[in-house]
């Protein structure tokens, strides 16, 4: 048997294992079902890809007489074998990204829902995420897992994309931090509206990058800047904008706490500089005109740190004109502002908290108020009270 045939068998065996694993799940859990169905379809397409790759290899053997005994000198044959091998390699990467990363999460999800150690906190977090999605008119069933950091994990199965939201285990009782999930859910919003966003925002950014391009900048640096903006920074800014327009100051304040460090102007491949992000969000907040908050207080407290430690530099990718073009177009594309209707409830919840009581309000208002207000209450006390108010469902398995 050829080595490559054995490799194909191994890949098929992984896919078959995944198929069996999901077929054995008897749960009636609707959230889980919404993942398993597209995954099942994706596994079929992966199997077909392996079969096609195997067929190419069979044809290659037939045409070249390759017998695994000696190398082939013919250039066309060598190129063909290289392409066939690369195809197998890419299929393995697809299996890893689409299957290996997700499959264990099914069991983590089931376990966190069932085990007494995690069940109550997991249920409250899921409740918060579901309420938040409804609040933003994004009724997508989303798997929520208590993990190591706040994150949104995208899985693409053929043309179907699903997301998994992660909360931070060590902050399971510090509920004010949960507002950080607004940015993560903003990534789902970005994906659902990516065509409209990219049609309106990307051309402005790309055009401005071309206009301000320094004459001595090489093509690679220019392409890299374009790539970073269109694939990484625009989605990040959109998610920030989404988070502020849904949770307002609650998100900004907790974001500032998380992002505060000694390098607010640091340029990263994956994320825009923190200072630009915070200033952008404060500008949005100012435009929202919410009562009872002082934008200047937020701005001054942030700038008191960042202006002290920052060393402004002029670099092409973070050119002011490019940033302004991006931010003004993002601000105008994202028109929904759910925070405006919610603000009265959050304000009432703040009053209750400042009076030392757990607010008699919905979860989003209560957690948003917790994120803004300097609490007189112990976070664990608030968490315990909310766990009582939102009891776990009976065992779903």
């Amino acid at each position: 048997m050829y080595l490559l045939d054995q490799k194909a068998e191994d890949i098929i065996s992984k896919i078959t294992f995944a198929e069996q694993s999901i077929n054995e799940i008897k749960s009636t859990d609707e959230v889980l079902k919404s993942y398993i169905e597209p995954l099942g379809y994706y596994l079929k397409t992966l199997k077909e890809s392996v079969k096609e790759a195997e067929a190419d290899f069979v044809e290659f053997i037939k045409k070249t007489g390759f017998g695994q005994e000696a190398f082939i000198p013919e250039k066309a044959h060598r190129r063909l074998l290289a392409a066939i091998l690369r195809n197998f390699e890419d299929i393995e990467k697809r299996v890893y990204i689409g299957v290996d990363t997700f499959l264990p999460l099914i069991f983590i999800w089931n376990s966190q829902k069932a085990r007494p150690e995690t069940k109550r906190h997991h249920d409250l977090l899921t409740h918060f995420v579901n309420d938040f999605l409804k609040f933003c008119c994004m009724p997508e069933p989303v798997m929520t897992i208590i993990g190591e950091s706040y994150a949104c994990f995208p899985i693409e199965w053929a043309s179907k994309r699903k997301h998994i939201i992660f909360g931070t285990f060590s902050e399971a009782q510090n509920l004010r931090k949960w507002v950080l999930l607004a940015h993560e859910i903003g990534h789902i919003y970005y994906h659902q509206n990516s065509f409209e966003i990219n049609s309106n925002v990307s051309p402005q950014v790309v055009r401005k990058l071309g206009e301000v391009r320094p004459p001595n900048l090489n093509q690679y640096d220019f392409e890299q800047a374009t790539y970073i903006w269109t694939n990484h920074w625009i989605p990040e800014f959109v998610s920030d904008c989404f988070a502020v327009k849904t949770l307002g100051p609650a998100f900004i304040l907790q974001f500032m706490l998380t992002a505060l460090n000694g390098q607010p102007d640091r340029v990263e491949f994956t994320h825009p500089p923190t200072s630009i992000r915070v200033n952008f969000m404060l500008d949005i907040l100012e435009d929202l005109g919410l009562s009872g908050i002082s934008i200047n207080d937020y701005r001054n407290s942030w700038q008191s740190y960042t202006h002290t430690v920052s060393t402004p530099t002029s670099i092409f990718i973070a050119d002011d004109e490019v940033v302004n073009a991006a931010l003004s177009s993002i601000g105008s594309v994202l028109t929904p502002t759910p925070i405006i209707d919610k603000w009265a409830d959050i304000t009432e919840a703040r009053r209750a908290l400042s009076a030392g009581t757990v607010p008699d309000k919905d979860l989003i208002s209560t957690i948003s108020a917790l994120a803004i207000e300097e609490n007189k209450l112990n976070p664990v006390q608030v968490s315990n009270e909310l766990l009582k108010r939102y009891p776990t469902d009976s065992d779903v398995f």
């Binding site: 392409a83 950091s149 950080l180 990534h187 694939n231 990040e236």
Partner: protein, 150 residues
């Protein structure tokens, strides 16, 4: 906060481009073998070559749209970024020339007018190799993240 989000998406984007370029290369090589044997090129192999044609046309359109300030897909811009790392691409004008030449070669080849696909093959090889390589880098980082997460 969501580096893993970006890495997953990057890997998927690069794998999609790699698949198209790689399929086209497989089709081209099988077609060349068939011609040498004096046989007709199978329909399946022609379809694979067409995938490469579609990919190159998409990149060319993205280049032109970008210059006109029109909408360009992030996926096409990802491929342009990867291509700019290669030795072949010195600037947009040069890349446009290579893309046009490659498309002409592929078109003439489909009509049986030429079997010389050197420029198209080289370009597709660069795209397949470099996007696959970028997908490997992103996948490795995802693996590191998953290990840490667990």
């Amino acid at each position: 906060m969501t580096r893993q989000w970006q890495l997953m998406r990057d890997a998927q984007t690069f794998l999609d481009a790699s698949k198209l370029a790689n399929d086209a290369l497989i089709g081209i090589q099988f077609a060349e073998i068939a011609r040498k044997e004096g046989k007709c090129v199978q329909k399946l192999q022609m379809q694979k070559i067409d995938k490469g044609v579609t990919l190159l046309q998409t990149i060319l359109r993205a280049l032109e749209a970008r210059e006109k300030g029109e909408v360009t897909s992030p996926e096409a811009l990802s491929v342009l970024y990867v291509l700019s790392q290669g030795r072949m691409v010195g600037g947009s004008a040069y890349l446009r020339k290579i893309l046009s030449n490659s498309l002409t070669e592929l078109d003439r080849s489909k009509q049986g007018k030429t079997s010389d696909l050197e420029e198209a093959e080289n370009l597709l090889e660069i795209i397949a190799n470099s996007t696959s390589e970028e997908a490997t880098k992103a996948t490795s980082k995802v693996q590191m993240f998953m290990v840490e997460a667990r």
